[in-house]
Symmetry: C2
Subunit: 314 residues, 2 copies
């Protein structure tokens, strides 16, 4: 009774319109330029999403810009605000540190900001953060090794570059296989560089006569590893697990390869997810502000088709 009365009084105010039927918003998308590799896939998926979203929302404008350096990206951001007058920004920072201030300035000008994958050096600037999950990538990879190997089996691990990303992947993988009896013969940084990967794997192959599995934790690294294994004629001896969802690797998985039986997703298509939620900020009654951490599902012959984009460069 008491409460009903309160509510009646409170409900008397004016009937305001809510957030937003889309009204000609301009969305800027700023990403590193690339024609190949993970960033090449990023560019391809951003363009796909732009085409799709432009068709679905003809009243909205999408301005996609690509940068060859952190300083060029900072200039791009200025132009997006001053020339294109953007309402929202989707940005995958070239590097965290030099882009933190430029993105903050965009935010302070009143733009809605979605940051993708590479976080800024300071928390709380962006409205939405969309990223892959390096810990999950390590765990899912480790769980696959547990299904294939056990006590006394030998593996080698190729790491990337000493970074938080690499540590998260590696520590999660090692924690997952701990206690299984799987023997990690060695791990070494291969610098996410194909020549280095090839040489590190050659070194492993020459030092270890018995290798059952290789955790390469990245599909680019996996390619160098596969080449070294082929040249050593030891293809039938071991399997290789990469990570990302590169189309050449997904294709091998899809074809039932014994050398590359699975892959673990860390998708460049996350740029499309980030563009989707940014558009939803203007078109949906659902809130979008927050942290969207994508999973790292295991790509198997059964589901590989869902992750295969034959026209993407990656």
């Amino acid at each position: 009774m008491r409460l009903t009365k309160t509510l009646a009084v409170l409900a008397m105010g004016s009937v305001a319109a809510f957030a937003g039927p889309a009204m000609a918003q301009t969305i800027g998308i700023s990403i590193p330029a690339a024609t190949h590799g993970w960033a090449g896939g990023l560019n391809w998926h951003a363009e796909q999403a732009r085409a799709r979203l432009s068709e679905a929302h003809p009243d909205m404008t999408f301005v996609l810009v690509t940068a060859d350096s952190a300083s060029q990206q900072a200039n791009d951001l200025e132009d997006l605000v001053s020339i294109h007058n953007i309402d929202a920004l989707v940005v995958l920072p070239f590097e965290s540190e030099p882009l933190t201030d430029p993105v903050r300035q965009v935010k302070e000008s009143g733009v809605f900001v979605t940051v993708v994958d590479r976080g800024l050096s300071q928390d709380g600037i962006e409205d939405v953060y969309v990223a892959g999950n390096n810990t999950a990538l390590g765990e899912v990879s480790g769980e696959y090794f547990l299904t294939r190997l056990g006590e006394g089996d030998n593996i080698v691990v190729l790491r990337g570059i000493p970074t938080t990303i690499d540590d998260e992947r590696f520590n999660a993988f090692m924690d997952t296989i701990e206690g299984s009896g799987i023997n990690v013969l060695d791990d070494e940084y291969a610098n996410w560089n194909r020549d280095d990967e090839f040489e590190v794997m050659q070194d492993f192959l020459s030092r270890f006569p018995d290798i059952d599995g290789v955790w390469a934790q990245d599909d680019d690294i996996a390619l160098g590893v596969i080449e070294a294994i082929r040249q050593a004629h030891r293809v039938d001896e071991m399997f290789v697990v990469g990570g990302a969802g590169m189309k050449e690797i997904v294709q091998m998985v899809m074809g039932g390869s014994e050398l590359v039986p699975v892959d673990v997703l860390y998708p460049p298509a996350m740029i499309a997810t980030a563009m989707d939620v940014t558009v939803a900020h203007y078109t949906s009654n659902g809130p979008v502000t927050g942290r969207y951490i994508l999973g790292a599902p295991l790509i198997t012959p059964e589901n590989a088709e869902n992750y295969y984009f034959p026209d993407s460069p990656f």
Copy 2:
């Protein structure tokens, strides 16, 4: 100039079809029934999202079912699979424990599963988890108190029901105001029940002659608190911070109330976000699998309009 060129190059690629053009998928949505309160808002936003998504995707089918009990929801899930033959399920479990097995069975039948807000008792069943952020709600609330109060100021805190949700909110709030000199006179469980809230606040008012602020951490609780403060004629003495985004509270914020100067979002509209990402699984090139934890933004007179849904019951 540079931007124009970059855009031209990017636009050259083929317009390939990707993963999934929508092909008559059926999406089931299962939520607790309610005509008022947070769950009433949930029902309203689910219906809004269903209307919007049906129009945007006329080839998809949306089946929205509401349950009065956990066992009815379990039956609903069976029907969604066996009668409606759903491809995807969006479910806000009535309760975690009794719905865990039913949702697992839906998942095992091959359905894509998005769980909202109330997690299942076991990890790893769902494909997507969409939820509010109780820790952020506590932090954002605490940060607001820091802007208003300091050394020697007195507050009281009304808690909900002893649960993880309540602990996360309370601990984050207390951690945030720690060291500020703000004096928490008392905190007490009010059981997310309006009569209890009113009585707890009456007790606080009779025991403490000097109260500067009340953290009610929930808008329903805030209503009971406000009524008690009004009846005690102490409206000018203190401010109240709730949590959720109830329209009566948002309206007070929008109107510049000194008694209710802000609110913190924990939106029932998250069901719409969950429906959006589930549809995107079939219509976007961006991946959606993962954890989407929504933020708890501070609702102020400046932005309150964005969070005000006058036609919603909540």
